[in-house]
């Protein structure tokens, strides 16, 4: 029975991925990409990796889908996508096929020629878990044992949003598309947005002893913000520019302050003080959740504002 379920799921994932790539209409590709995120989340659950499943469900099936649909709407509006059809050029297609086949072969080779690990990492993690301040292994690795990686990841996110903000040309034309003034949607939002906010906080809190954590909670928060944004309640208009910038940088700043304060205390970088690890991790995660939510929202709203060249190009064309 289990084998049958796994085989069906595997066939489904492969078929959906192939259809998403080969589909002639861009809209259909986007829809299949959303479905791919959903089925991948199911696959991760089957593999017993609920942390990745949560992230995949929130980012893969939720936010990426909205971003792609939004981009599609923009392409249509600016007239860059005259027809729904797109014909790939053959040299490019050949190059893409060649490189992806090479990648698959390399990955297969890597999987089948795995060296036997010299250190049993999961045993080490289990051994050190009582000292980490949290009781969930993934959170312990992400925010204590390998927190350096997480710090750099957050740095990359902040860098991405800074580049996006720098490329944004016009402040006033931040969102060229209006929101939906739909009473049904607004009634729905009054039920949905509080539930989303509570779930976001739940995921953050759950991270200390169950699957969850700052990234999933941040994605959930961003989804609530994006939903409000789409229905015409603009968070960026409510908050001042300076406030928004503060929110964007808060998570990285708190993380960096905690990281460097241990150096001042004479300990190595990112070493938490004895007994205070749990509280500090929660503090960092709280700041990270807010920042990740705002960063994802900013990336979404930046993508909304058309660059100057495309706008003039569109007006020239008509």
């Amino acid at each position: 029975m289990n084998l049958l379920i796994d085989l069906t799921l595997l066939t489904g994932i492969l078929a959906i991925a192939a259809t998403s790539l080969l589909s002639r209409s861009l809209f259909q590709s986007v829809i299949f990409f959303i479905l791919l995120g959903l089925t991948l989340a199911l696959g991760w659950i089957r593999l017993g990796a609920p942390d990745i499943a949560l992230a995949e469900a929130a980012i893969g099936a939720g936010i990426t889908g909205v971003l792609l649909l939004d981009t599609l709407g923009h392409l249509k509006k600016t007239g860059k996508l005259d027809k729904d059809e797109h014909r790939p050029s053959y040299p490019r297609l050949l190059l893409a096929i060649l490189s992806s086949v090479t990648l698959v072969v390399l990955l297969l080779w890597a999987v089948f020629h795995q060296p036997t690990p010299a250190i049993q990492l999961h045993l080490l993690v289990e051994e050190a878990l009582p000292d980490s301040g949290v009781s969930h292994q993934i959170t312990a690795v992400l925010l204590n044992f390998r927190s350096y990686d997480t710090l750099l990841e957050v740095g990359v996110l902040v860098l991405a949003v800074l580049v996006g903000l720098a490329l944004q040309t016009d402040q006033h034309q931040q969102d060229s598309l209006p929101g939906l003034p739909n009473p049904l949607l607004h009634a729905c939002l009054t039920l949905l947005v509080p539930a989303m906010l509570i779930t976001s906080m739940y995921l953050l809190w759950a991270g200390s002893d169950r699957p969850g954590g700052a990234f999933q909670a941040g994605a959930m928060l961003a989804a609530a913000f994006i939903l409000l944004h789409l229905s015409g309640i603009k968070l960026s208009a409510q908050l001042s520019h300076r406030m928004m910038q503060f929110g964007l940088l808060l998570g990285f700043t708190v993380f960096l302050v905690v990281a460097t304060s241990s150096v001042i205390g004479g300990r190595p970088l990112l070493a938490y003080p004895d007994g205070g690890a749990g509280l500090l991790i929660l503090l960092i995660e709280l700041a990270l959740t807010l920042s990740i939510g705002l960063i994802l929202l900013s990336l979404f709203t930046i993508a909304n504002s058309p660059p100057l060249s495309s706008r003039s190009g569109g007006s020239n064309g008509h």
Binding site: M1, N2, L4, I5, T8, L9, T11, G12, A15, T19, F27, Q28, I31, I34, L35, L38, T39, A41, L42, I45, G48, P50, A53, L54, A57, A58, A61, G62, I63, G65, V66, L69, D70, L72, G73, H74, K76, K77, L177, G179, L180, L185, C188, L192, A195, M196, T199, Y202, L203, A206, R210, P211, G212, Q216, M220, A223, I226, L227, L230, S231
Partner: protein, 91 residues
Amino acid sequence: MSYIYGFTLFILLVSLIVGVMRIIQGPRQADRLLAAQLFGTTGVAILVILAELQPLPAARDTALVLALLAMLAAVAFVSRVWKTTSTNEDH
């Protein structure tokens, strides 16, 4: 009991694959998106059953996230893609 869960799960997975046909067929974009929404609901059902079958309580959290975010794609579609298509068709 686990046999019933397995059977239900299999039926749900097959219904997902049948749903793909509707997305490919269309004929309109709204039909495709509604089929994708059906995928979201079925996905939530599958996750809840998997939480019992594995057993993996965290799968319920994933189901919760999926259920809350399913509406996002529909709202984005209506506000961004659909309106522009209908005006294109009017021309």
